[in-house]
């Protein structure tokens, strides 16, 4: 606190020699940080594993003995996303908050005074591994559902849509789920940049994701319930997973993902602005 601000001020005040750090350098720096930290890979692996395990467990628990349930096979197969996103959120929050808690952020900002660039680089570096994780977790979940669900009376043989990736809606559900996880990561990153403290940030993220729809369940007013589901990042975003009953959805699949993207953009914007305005 005593050392960094003067050094930093000197750096930014020196307008005759603009900082040489470009976006490429920022990306490289962030990637190096992410790569060399011992704790980055394991949580992502855990997120993928948790997603597949929960998906498989839910698929194994669903029964439709009569073969006449209104189940959505694609959605059941992808239920694990609800759990896996929490781990993704931790990774994203820690990408920012761990720098704040150790004071590393001052070094980062001294080297890279353009704070928006730093956040953009962080977002880009985070998105890549998250997309890779999701690209493992989602097909794994779909495969698990494909193997388990037909034995429980849910599958093409019983008039349900084909959950494999060959059909259009199922492919949209799977690809959308990958994007969903990436957007959750960006939302978490933006919130962490705004809140800075890890515990508070993860509390805000999970508070935004999980209990948001609950009041809607309780208020009983169908119009408000619907509005909440259209507005809440999780219920809106997960509309992308629906392959049956599209008409009864509170929001259409891609529009729902758009709502989540809006949340993520707003969080990044808020985080970026606060990062610029506040002392590190």
């Amino acid at each position: 606190m005593t050392q960094a601000p003067p050094a930093q001020r000197a750096h930014t005040a020196d307008t005759s020699r603009p900082p040489r750090a470009s976006m490429r350098d920022a990306l490289h720096a962030e990637w190096t940080k992410a790569r060399t930290l011992p704790g980055t890979g394991w949580p992502l692996l855990a997120a993928a594993a948790l997603t597949v395990i929960v998906s498989a467990a839910v698929a194994a628990a669903v029964r439709c003995p009569s073969g006449h349930c209104a189940e959505d096979p694609a959605k059941i197969s992808l239920t694990g996303i609800c759990a896996g996103q929490a781990v993704i959120a931790i990774v994203a929050v820690l990408a920012v908050s761990s720098e704040h808690s150790t004071g590393m952020i001052r070094v980062t900002l001294a080297a890279m005074p353009r704070r928006a660039t730093v956040l953009a680089a962080k977002a880009a570096v985070l998105t890549g591994p998250v997309l890779v994780t999701a690209a493992v977790a989602v097909p794994g979940s779909v495969l698990a559902g494909r193997l388990i669900l037909p034995g429980h009376g849910i599958g093409p043989a019983h008039g349900h849509p084909d959950p494999s990736l060959a059909s259009g809606p199922a492919l949209r559900a799977a690809a959308g789920s990958v994007l969903y996880l990436a957007l959750i990561a960006l939302l978490s990153l933006g919130i962490a940049a705004a809140v800075r403290d890890g515990a508070a940030a993860i509390g805000v993220v999970l508070g935004l994701l999980y209990p948001f729809p609950i009041p809607g369940q309780v208020v009983g007013s169908s119009s408000w319930h619907r509005h909440l589901e259209q507005l809440a990042p999780m219920t809106a975003g997960l509309a992308i997973q629906a392959t049956t009953g599209l008409r009864s959805l509170p929001i259409s699949p891609w529009a729902g993902l758009g709502v989540l993207a809006g949340w993520a953009a707003a969080a990044l914007l808020a985080g970026g602005n606060l990062l610029r305005l506040r002392d590190a």
Partner: protein, 529 residues
């Protein structure tokens, strides 16, 4: 180190090591961190804030364009004791005087449901465990009026039930042509006695009901009802509404012997509660009289009523739904109460001042628990007040709860928050990483509710253990409605119906908190600070 040893030798020691001092130190730490105090206030506000969202409205535009909220269709049906009831069935009846009896033989009961939920589809055969058919003496055909009934059920044998909440078992086993059941009800004034028999000659008394104020001219006859199936519920993962499928039961009676009726009276059929109860749409209930037999088909249930299950009306627990949002804020503060100290190295100062590490942890737990309880109590009370006012303003009648149920609900909610905070403290001390600890505790407390509860991702049966075994079981302190064995209701926490009794669910949460705290104490002693 040497300074400490000499100090421990002095007379100051007794004062220094006092547990009261330790509590005071922890309280000072909590009090002076602005973020934590703000966090607790935010938690309290969040619990109340959910009730500021405009709620549902019941009622609608009347003739003349005037909007009136409320009305009988917005209120749950009330039974003779003032409790909410489900009263919807097909009734084939004749008037009966104050002395009389009805005897029948039941030879078959079958059930069916419409798989798609839409009328007109092919009906699937499925008898519900609590499908009911038999004989009934009822004060009137008005839903909610007093009654006593002898019935065969889908899976629970012969029962005598009266006034919605009372239930007495009779002969076991299912009814069939090979194993018919004889049922008899005798009325003598306000007292109705039920008998059953497997052969029509040897009768056993099942129970006797006193129905105070039963009118002289009551209605007696045959009935059939079949509740909405919770096992056939179509699930939805994004929180869209999931509704049970309505089912119907058909029973065949013969040898009907009705005494105490006016000489010229004939059977008439009534769909009791039909149409007024959206949860039990009438599905072609009716009766046929081929020869001496009488076939009655009906849908619905005669049972205690629960919010969300049997018609319109709000629940008391619904006013406390904000607990989830508030809980997350509490958990963040509680975790940071230990992780911040571990991270900043303040713990070394703390442990130097008070080397007995378990006592430090205990002091932290007590201070945190007390602060959370103190913040949660007024918040829960305010939430209940604002929530009930909101429901009232929207014309929604709250399902009546037994007297003084609200006191344990409020205190229980505050205690739930306090113990959850201690659990978070323990997990924070074990994991040491605040983000991971917060996520773990939120996952343990909120996710089971989320998966098994309102969003109903898991089927009702398979998800039953989640809200029982995880710390989320603690939410059953918000149980507002008594549990009846004669009611197959899926646990819907948003409606105030939990799988465990309040004390049992709270005990599960306490056990988890004790485990976490124990492990934290063990690791705190074993690990370097």
């Amino acid at each position: 180190m040497t300074a400490m040893i000499t100090r421990r030798g002095t007379a100051v020691r007794a004062e220094r090591d006092g547990f009261g001092e330790l509590l005071h130190a922890e309280w000072t730490k909590f009090r002076t961190v602005r973020g934590w105090v703000v966090g607790m206030i935010v938690a309290g506000l969040l619990i109340i804030a959910v009730n500021l969202i405009p709620g549902g409205e019941c009622g609608g535009p009347q003739s003349g364009g005037q909007v009136t909220l409320g009305g009988p269709s917005c209120a749950p049906t009330l039974g003779p004791g003032g409790e909410a009831v489900a009263d919807s069935f097909y009734f084939v009846h004749q008037p009966m005087a104050s002395t009389g009896s009805i005897t029948v033989r039941v030879t078959s009961m079958t059930g069916s449901y419409s798989p798609g939920g839409a009328p007109g589809q092919e009906l699937k055969s499925a008898l519900q465990p609590w499908s009911k058919a038999g004989i009934i003496i009822k004060a009137s055909t008005r839903p909610g009026s007093a009654y006593a009934a002898m019935m065969v059920t889908g899976e629970h044998g012969v029962r005598m039930q009266w006034d919605y909440t009372q239930d007495a078992p009779g002969l076991a086993g299912a009814v069939s042509a090979a194993a018919p059941r004889w049922l008899r009800l005798t009325r003598s004034g306000d007292t109705i006695t039920g008998y059953d028999s497997a052969d029509g000659t040897h009768w056993a008394r099942v129970g006797a009901a006193t129905l105070p104020g039963l009118p002289r001219a009551a209605q007696a006859g045959l009935f059939a009802a079949s509740p909405t199936s919770s096992n056939l519920i179509s699930q939805s993962a994004t929180g869209s509404s999931s509704s049970g499928l309505s089912t119907q039961a058909t029973a065949v009676f013969d040898d009907v012997d009705l005494r105490g009726t006016p000489p010229s009276s004939r059977w008439s059929g009534t769909d009791v509660g039909g149409g007024t109860n959206a949860a039990y749409p009438a599905r072609d209930g009716g009766y046929r009289q081929p020869g001496r037999a009488l076939t009655v088909t009906g849908s619905g249930d005669i049972a205690p009523g629960l919010p969300g299950g049997t018609g319109s009306g709000g629940s008391v627990a619904g006013t406390l739904a904000g607990t989830f949002a508030g809980l997350i804020a509490v958990l963040v503060v509680a975790t940071m109460f230990i992780t911040a100290e571990l991270r900043r190295g303040l713990i070394r100062v703390t442990l130097t001042a008070s080397p007995r590490r378990n006592r430090v942890l205990a002091a932290k737990a007590i201070v945190l628990g007390a602060v959370t309880f103190a913040a949660g109590l007024p918040a829960a009370y305010m939430a209940l007040l604002t929530g009930e006012r909101k429901q009232h303003a929207g014309g929604i009648s709250v399902y009546p709860v037994p007297a003084l149920t609200e006191v344990p609900m409020i205190v229980g909610t505050a205690a739930l928050l306090a113990v959850a905070a201690v659990l978070a403290l323990g997990i924070g001390a074990v994991l040491r990483r605040s983000a991971a600890a917060v996520t773990a505790v939120i996952a343990a407390l909120v996710l089971p509710y989320f998966f098994a509860g309102p969003l109903a991702v898991l089927p009702a049966g398979a998800a039953d253990w989640l809200p029982r075994a995880t710390p989320a079981a603690g939410f059953s302190v918000q149980q507002g409605y008594p549990r009846y064995p004669q009611l197959d209701a899926s646990s819907t926490p948003a409606n105030g119906y939990f799988p465990l009794a309040p004390w049992a669910g709270f005990a599960v949460l306490c056990l988890w908190a004790a485990l976490a705290l124990g492990l934290a104490g063990y690791l705190l002693r074993r690990r370097d600070a």
